[in-house]
Symmetry: C2
Subunit: 421 residues, 2 copies
């Protein structure tokens, strides 16, 4: 089942907005047994859009187009589909009723321009949009089906589920395959690749591959084009092998983040955590509270950015700051210990380092960070020198992740466990 | 000058990697006087790539393709160009010399597979790649020029500058136009649109348009296809009008964020700030310290997530918490005041609210947030109810932005200035 994606909008063609819909749609299509063969992005011109729709229809079984269904004069996807199909537009009462109901619910006045959104090519179906004013359009062609969805991601995703998904599932007749991404942290990608080399051989089923993004390495296990049960069994078997070989480096799967992984382990043990941050500036606290329900384990964060605040808020002795500097093992240790004690939590994390771009010295270059972990029994400090190719934002991101990973490994092992580099 | 972009790679078509190259290239092309008319993404198959190259060539003056120039068996862009041009591949000594020099510089052994990277269609030029092993290819066709660049962004960008940029500049003969994005916050997009309606008329030069992303509204002013000086003068004139009509809602331009805007105003006045956060969980502190050099103004953040920590760390009276709840005007007020006093800063920001998805009640629904601003003279609290369509992440993001905007408006006006909704 060959699927083509078409993104419509001047802002996309001009590079002013990043097209995130296509990547989301491609993954969704794959999960439903289809294969995306091409994405095309064109601007808001009827001829361009109609031409792209016709070309896509000549190559694919299903075409999913997003964007250009709004109420303004540069929303021309409806007109383009009418041109591509050679069918005139008509105002459809069921579309008009949806639009009116939406405006009534929002307590907003319907504008004349919104009437345009009820125009649909003769013979096409209307796809309801519960989250916005733009109904979608579905052309059930005899060979190729075309779906037009809005470009707003939240609207597009919900309408995809109610319109495209059932068609894909029916067409793939259950041969939807199976795919799983395991998320790993704290093991170099080369080590990880060596441990999985036999699984990553070409033409093996399932296919196993790795890729790294923002410090997290993902291991993808994919069995395509098989019946769901069969594919799932193969993927599960590989998952067990990967988990056994990578051990504690695997922190979760799919949508898991280091924060959700830490949250899960803290909640399972009824434990609490607090944070004392310098270079990360609140990012560790922010990540730990990204997770809904984080008040179960997160109590307090201190962002002691200025040295005097390290002294006054977390009582780091001035002598220590003078003797070793704020970016040092003893200060990271003190911050974690004082944070745990003042917040009255089971664990505390600290971070002090040089995020750059300025502030580095030969002895303490940009990217040097000390991460502290205080437990009920001890305090450990992990020294990490990030690569000098990382930006300030990346150094802060990786440091926050490494700090959360320290706590995660400690919870799993029952004692602090520094990653071996 | 019509330009088409072609992105090549199975991982892009499958949605496993986001295509950020196309957006970057589209913006770069525009700055050099060209107009991108289409992006296409295809997988690693010779026929698909060759077909896409031919189709792009039939529509555009210049085609820029990225990806598929690596050493492995699924890197097929060279072969596809040869097929599209009807020219055989030949091993080019100057390409081989570059590859050998790169490996020598890195101290790595050349593999046989890297020899493939020296293959170039007869008649094409080699583009040097100083950062990697994959040389680029330039076909100087009589009517259409085709550039093949690697998919690795850092390599692609450097090679674009030395190969595509001079060709675009020569072809546009200095008629590179000018574009500016002004960033706005705290004014509804509809109000903003009404104030700029005459500027946003179609066919006016410069073109003026707005778009909203993550709560920030951008006003783009674009003068295309004109000589640089002339275009810049037109854009500057419109900029002055927009700034005058939108006033304090404009916080900056281009890469500015609310954090960089606040940082600029704090540094200009030699003022300091601290934060007391509940629902935002450290995000305001994180954003304020995103800016290099933030130690000049940011001193300390308190993330008092648990109610007992609001009591013990920032001394919110228990009676106040019991009488009004943690999410309330008096608690936001106390948090800001105590934070400012304890941290000894000129200003303090506080945030307490219900980020959801759980925890809402009819009286205090998800999305309700109180933002406090303490100044040397007074404390003000801004109550904001975010739309119930926003996610937890969005509520936290918008709240952090609104808090920073409170401070920014106060610094500009010399007194707290709540946004009128």
């Amino acid at each position: 089942m060959r699927v083509e994606l078409l993104s419509i909008g001047d802002e996309l063609v001009a590079g002013l907005s990043l097209d995130t819909n296509s990547a989301w749609l491609a993954q969704a299509v794959r999960r439903l047994g289809g294969t995306v063969i091409r994405h095309t992005t064109v601007g808001d011109r009827v001829g361009e859009i109609a031409g792209a729709l016709q070309a896509a229809r000549s190559r694919a079984d299903i075409v999913v187009a997003t964007g250009g269904l709004g109420p303004t004069a540069d929303d021309l996807t409806r007109e383009a589909l009418a041109e591509a199909l050679g069918c005139p537009l008509e105002e459809r009462p069921e579309a008009m009723a949806q639009i009116e109901a939406f405006f009534a619910r929002m307590g907003r006045a319907l504008r004349d321009s919104n009437r345009r959104q009820a125009l649909v090519p003769v013979g096409c179906d209307v796809i309801e949009n519960p989250r916005g004013t733009a109904p979608g359009i579905h052309d059930r062609g005899p060979e190729v089906e075309i779906f037009l969805l809005p470009g707003v991601p939240a609207e597009m995703k919900e309408m995809f589920a109610r319109s495209v998904e059932p068609v894909l599932l029916e067409r793939s007749a259950g041969r939807v395959g199976c795919a799983l991404s395991l998320r790993c942290f704290g093991m170099p990608e080369s080590t990880l690749g060596d441990r999985l080399a036999d699984l990553m051989a070409r033409d093996r089923v399932p296919r196993v591959g790795t890729n790294a993004s923002e410090g997290v390495i993902s291991v993808r296990i994919v069995a395509d084009g098989l019946a769901a049960d069969e594919a799932a069994a193969l993927v599960r078997a590989d998952e067990a092998v990967v988990r056994e070989r990578l051990g504690v480096a695997v922190f979760g799967a799919e949508e898991d983040t280091l924060a959700t992984a830490v949250a899960r382990e803290l909640i399972a043990r009824g434990c609490t955590v607090s944070t004392a941050e310098s270079c990360t500036g609140g990012l560790i606290a922010k990540r730990l509270t990204d997770v809904p329900g984080s008040s179960a384990y997160f109590r307090c964060g201190y962002v002691t950015y200025a040295n005097e605040m390290k002294e006054s808020v977390l009582h780091v002795p001035r002598d220590l700051l003078i003797a070793h500097g704020a970016v040092s093992e003893p200060v990271a240790r003190h911050l974690a210990e004082a944070c745990r004690s003042q917040a009255g939590t089971d664990f505390a994390l600290s971070a002090t380092g040089i995020a750059g771009p300025g502030g580095g010295t030969p002895e303490k270059p940009v990217g040097l960070v000390f991460l502290g972990l205080a437990t009920p029994d001890e305090v450990v400090v992990y020294r990490r020198q990030w690569s000098d190719t990382l930006t300030r934002e990346e150094i802060r991101d990786r440091s926050a992740k490494a700090a959360m990973d320290l706590l995660r490994r400690c919870l799993l092992a029952g004692r602090p466990l520094l990653p071996s580099e």
